[in-house]
Symmetry: C2
Subunit: 405 residues, 2 copies
């Protein structure tokens, strides 16, 4: 059995010559078990569970989001919380993204330290340790933009930026779903003005992400909700403009609402993430033209699983449970078997139940399953197999996996 070596891995990932350093230590990417002699294998030959990405479908999604927004003046700033993979962020930038978003500091670091120069961190840093680290990162990477959502935190950022000897770019996160963010209206204006006045902070604009709108079923209801949500956001934006602030960034929206933002004056870019992969959750929300299936983008991300037990009628047991799929609903979709229901409720085992199967299944047969919810599923895997014409073309290390800090 051939063992993995670093040079070969670099070559496999197509990243030789670019930085593959792990943030903070200088060793190669975390490498899970099993051989790396997998380039060129059929996806059906991979040991399972394996996370697979149909490259042609992904590349088509990558282009479509730009095509669909053409002429709107709205840019794309993909959220890498979905894929946590610098190699995919690079493809997004090459396809025309204005930069990327990251949710967490450690995730931002993984991107910045692996060749992604423009990262907007949508979450806030509130601990002294994270704030200091964020400023150190900004010192090293001028394309790093931070968020703030309260006045005390803005004061802390100012102090830390001053201590680091930099002027740090900052956006103000607006509260749209009672989660993160400063209340819209006067508090938001006051905070933006505070940032703008802070000598070591550079006010860049606002964030307004309605996480709850993305999975509302039906294009009409989604749009109605978005219009409602953005009413106070737009009023806030206008008050900022009137007060003379320069709002370079007005960012928000996701895969469910990316094509509705033309209604929002001053809006600059959408933070789409799932569009690259799609999943059972997004497929269920319906699109403008198709109420039953959201088909603006096509599913590219699947988990290959193996049937390990066929002893019971109308039931297959697989080797892929909650640790391979999460327990998100709707559950995974078995490709080619519309009557199959995939239950990933057990940690280690999947159970498929059905009334009708298109073929007979035996122990060792494999199933390809569209993931329930792409973000947390990707966060279970150290690598993604890039598949083209049925074969492994590349292996993408998920370098920000587990980076929730």
């Amino acid at each position: 059995m051939h063992r993995f070596n670093r040079r070969k891995f670099l070559q496999f990932t197509g990243m030789a010559g670019t930085s593959l350093l792990l943030p903070g230590n200088g060793t190669a990417a975390p490498v899970p078990s099993f051989e790396f002699d997998e380039i060129g294998l059929s996806k059906w030959e991979l040991e399972t569970p394996s996370l697979c990405l149909e490259l042609e479908v992904m590349e088509s999604n990558l282009k479509k989001v730009h095509q669909n927004l053409q002429g709107t003046g709205i840019g794309v700033r993909p959220h890498i919380k979905t894929h946590k993979t610098p190699a995919l962020a690079r493809m997004q930038l090459e396809a025309g993204a204005v930069g990327v978003c990251a949710a967490k500091l450690s995730e931002s670091e993984a991107m910045l330290e692996n060749g992604i120069p423009n990262v907007l961190m949508t979450g806030v840093n509130v601990s002294p340790g994270k704030i200091k680290k964020a400023m150190d990162l900004r010192k090293k990477h001028p394309g790093f933009i931070q968020a703030v959502d309260n006045p005390e935190n803005a004061a802390d950022l100012q102090e830390a930026a001053k201590a680091a000897g930099i002027i740090a770019e900052v956006v103000v996160d607006l509260d749209v779903i009672n989660r993160s963010g400063v209340p819209t209206g006067k508090p938001a204006l006051a905070l933006a003005q505070q940032v703008d006045r802070s000598p070591n902070l550079h006010f860049m604009g606002i964030l307004a992400y309605d996480g709850g709108a993305q999975h509302v079923k039906g294009y009409g209801p989604r749009k109605a909700r978005t219009e409602r949500t953005f009413e106070p956001v737009v009023a806030t934006y206008e008050s900022l403009i009137i007060s003379g602030l320069n709002v370079e960034i007005f960012s928000g929206a996701g895969t469910g609402t990316y094509d509705m933002m033309g209604i929002v004056p001053g809006f600059t870019d959408v933070q789409v993430g799932s569009y690259l992969f799609m999943d059972a959750q997004y497929m269920a929300i319906g699109s403008k033209e198709n109420e039953a299936l959201y088909d603006d983008f096509d599913p590219s991300l699947t988990v290959m699983t193996t049937v390990i037990n066929t002893n019971h009628p109308n039931r297959l047991v697989t080797d892929s449970g909650a640790k391979a799929f999460t327990i998100n609903k709707p559950s995974g979709i078995v490709i080619g078997e519309p009557d199959f229901t995939y239950n990933a409720g057990s940690d280690e085992y999947g159970t498929v139940t059905y009334n009708q199967a298109n073929r007979e299944y035996r122990v060792g047969d494999k199933l390809e399953v569209i993931v329930p919810h792409c973000d947390p599923v990707v966060n279970l895997y150290d690598r993604i197999y890039g598949i083209r014409r049925g074969k492994v073309e590349t292996i993408l290390p998920v370098l920000a996996r587990g980076m929730s800090r």
Copy 2:
């Protein structure tokens, strides 16, 4: 900022001098971002989310399972699918375990290659690649025991063991909950006899794990179910004995049923996993003496989280959502705040709602939260902070994290 280095890491983990090699490549453990100058910090100073283990509570649980089984003649073979951490497996062996169980082949490899000599893999290997790899592992590690649950697979194992030039130890997995396993009764007896006849396989015994019984609420109903489930298992066991087979291993049960197995003749060991950590799910099942709270073992595993937003009354937003906690129910339990409900339904954010709080919370304050379901939560983290008297004493690398193959 000081950077991590390998020597320091080894020293931190208390594993210097023992093997910390990652299976398959010879580099150090996968090291996530952030500094490693965390030994000696208060757990309240850790950046969040952080997975923390109260060492004294864990050590007490480690002993209790043996104390509670004293005089029963039943041994303990802990299931490492729960912790995926060789350092914890070593403590379990030192506390008197007869060996450990692992669910998957890559997980078994991570244990065997990191100094855990006795591993019983409870899942089956059905692909040619995994079967060959399992035999290679057995050749290197004589303490590796494999499972089988169908005749074709037994034939494949025989062939692979022969090709590897070994006699491989094999247990037969019995079907108790229509998931994995060979049907009890004649099919199980025939399979055991087939294994016993196979020149390159050594029949070691049987597995019978009722995963569904572990979380049945109430000691009485749990015991009633176990008695019912084990009726055909015991009949099968007796037919094996009558047929002259040597059943050295008769293994099953988990943290919910470990103290009920005295009713099963010939039973040798319990595959407890969660007893070490506990979680909200197990706490809710009730014990023999306490119907409201399962208290044979105490919760030792928590996630430290940070409050990042307090703008809304009776609501706190934290930095720890589904990627830190999973979406398992019942949800995490905030220590010291019995009225708090922790919602980890968002990928990146947690939301606490309450009517009554024991103190006022501000942005930057931390919450310590007992995990919903320990196994999949541990599988999200690369390391566990070992805490004693409130401070970080050690950092345990979760070397089998993500090893679901």
